[in-house]
């Protein structure tokens, strides 16, 4: 019984810790319109996790893609998506909209 309580408590602690980590930073708003990102230069603090909330204002789907940030996420037309980015070392990290890479280009700058 005690073991069960300890287990439940540690699970609860883990869940709280996890959701706490997820809720930490307020999301940075990014929009896609006419296959362009606004802002297309995103300045973020280095060495801490960040969250982007990307809203796709176009009718067409877009894939937020960045090998440098290790992110691949499809955002359907007219919808938004949460993108979590691991703590970055200071530097520039390019990203793009894979479905319209001619115009959909941007960079995350960690300082």
């Amino acid at each position: 019984m005690i073991r069960r309580i300890v287990l439940a408590a540690s699970v609860a602690a883990l869940v709280t810790a996890a959701s706490g980590a997820l809720a930490d930073a307020p999301p940075i708003q990014v929009t896609i319109k006419n296959h362009q990102f606004t802002p297309n230069e995103i300045r973020v603090p280095a060495n801490q996790p960040i969250v982007l909330n990307v809203t796709n204002g176009d009718a067409l789907a877009e894939e937020f893609d960045s090998t440098a940030l290790k992110v691949e996420k499809v955002i359907a037309g007219g919808q938004s998506g949460i993108i979590r980015i691991h703590p970055l070392r200071p530097g520039r990290y390019a990203f793009m909209g894979e479905y319209h890479s001619a115009t959909a280009q941007g960079v995350v700058i960690a300082q």
Partner: protein
């Protein structure tokens, strides 16, 4: 139109390469055409469902639904590929000695075919849902360019399927007694690569937040986004900036696969199976 063609081509080739490897790995196994077709059909149907509910899936788990879904189906594929390789290691010797397997062996072969059909289904589902979402947006958007873009999409499917077919035929050119070893190796690397991708999706979802720092950067030599980089990413899980968790997942799956195959292979008639287990020596 050209942009549409390229995007669809890329997604189709990523699924097509996996289908090609599966087809080569099951050469001579009766009924494989049906199983693989069922995998493709199931994957396509699933892709449409996933695309239709893309918004709902993405909203799950505090906005990490898409990443967790990707990670889950990738891990499922890793499991199925492992099952296939281990099963082949324990039964493959009879089948490669005499390619036309009969009787009970065939029925057991059906189990491994089921696993591979799931792998095919998962590959088609994953890439297919992106194609469906992409093309659906174009179709829904309408406009004068719609017809040419859809034409580009169709051409992309045809080209991707054609190139996958070429790779399959290339694999078949490998002499029969080496084909088994070749496809076993390809499937091992494929599974390791999928595991590394699954690890990255778990990190992107925020579920795993350790070992996230890239270990090295080869993007200046072989960028992951280039054609060769993408090809290698599909086949062996190449990434130009792997992190610790990805490397551990990759090495872990290779080690697990080799160990399991060795264990099941060593059990009965170790001397006979040695030639098949270590054909390179």
């Amino acid at each position: 139109m050209l942009a549409t063609l390229l995007i669809v081509f890329r997604e189709v080739i990523e699924a097509g390469l996996i289908v090609g490897i599966v087809l080569a790995a099951t050469k001579g196994v009766p009924g494989r055409g049906l199983w693989v077709s069922m995998g493709v059909a199931g994957g396509l149907a699933g892709a449409c469902v996933v695309a239709a509910f893309a918004g709902g899936i993405a909203a799950l788990f505090q906005g990490s639904g898409q990443e967790l879904f990707n990670a889950a189906i990738l891990i499922l594929a890793v499991g199925m590929l492992t099952w296939h390789n281990v099963w082949m290691a324990s039964h493959g010797k009879e089948m490669s000695r005499e390619l036309k397997a009969v009787g009970a062996e065939v029925r057991q072969g059906g189990k491994s075919l089921l696993a591979l059909a799931v792998v095919v289904g998962v590959a088609v589902l994953r890439e297919g849902s992106e194609v469906v979402l992409f093309l659906y947006g174009i179709a829904a958007g309408g406009g004068a360019t719609m017809a040419s873009m859809l034409l580009g999409g169709a051409a992309g499917v045809a080209l991707g399927a054609g190139l996958s077919l070429l790779m399959y035929l290339g694999l078949l050119a490998i002499p029969a007694h080496r084909l088994f070893a070749a496809t076993t190796g390809l499937i091992t690397l494929l599974a390791a690569g999928l595991a590394a991708q699954a690890a990255a999706f778990l990190q992107q979802a925020g579920v795993v937040t350790v070992l996230q720092t890239p270990l090295w950067d080869t993007s200046s030599i072989l960028p992951e986004g280039g054609m060769l980089g993408r090809l290698l990413k599909t086949l062996i899980g190449y990434t130009d900036q792997p992190n610790g968790l990805q490397l551990m997942a990759w090495l872990g799956v290779v080690a697990m696969m080799l160990t399991l195959m060795r264990v099941v292979n060593a059990r009965p008639r170790a001397t006979q199976s040695a030639a098949i287990a270590h054909p390179a020596e």
